[in-house]
Symmetry: C2
Subunit: 107 residues, 2 copies
């Protein structure tokens, strides 16, 4: 289980992948494998939450890192690179680096 | 605090807004107001988690509804419409309806 909270000083990375519907499940499996094999062990990793769109055309990774420095270190890590290249071969993506402005729940 | 979990039978709506950087904070305030004034009271609302991108060009709402029927009812609700029109006047957006395939945390 992952949590979203206001005023938690972390980096949130929202990565929307555009994918052919017949490749969506392959992409989702690849993102889960990349997290379990590599990302989970890297310093500053908090969570990766893999979503698939109901129309089959997208996948979304809602990921959390302790800091921008940890995220940048992951991007330069040789262990992470093959996973990112494999994702790039299947889908187009454009990561959004952001912070939580507010987390509002039902009363 | 909101939570992301696998095998929870809910609808996740990830809405990425493209916005002019000088309008980002206005958009974020509008999304928070819409949630607090209207969405929070609607049947099936679980959470809305408003994010702003560090480059100023995006906002993302990570929202959770109990079911597609609840989400569709919100979209047809006359109380919700003015909020959606106000957001459309400030930003372009394309909601992604999805489900959680996996939620993976650091060990």
């Amino acid at each position: 289980m992952s949590t979203i909270e206001k005023d938690r000083n972390i980096l949130t990375l929202i990565n929307v992948f555009a994918v052919a519907p017949d490749k969506q499940q392959e992409l989702v499996a690849l993102l889960i494998d990349a997290t379990q094999q590599t990302m989970k062990r890297l310093p500053g990793f908090i969570s990766a939450n893999i979503h698939c769109s109901l129309d089959g055309k997208k996948a979304v990774n809602y990921a959390q890192w302790e800091s921008m420095a940890d995220f940048e270190a992951m991007r330069k890590n040789p262990e992470a690179r093959p996973h990112m290249q494999a994702a790039a071969a299947l889908a187009q993506f454009d990561p959004i680096l952001c912070e939580v402005s507010n987390a509002l729940s039902a009363e």
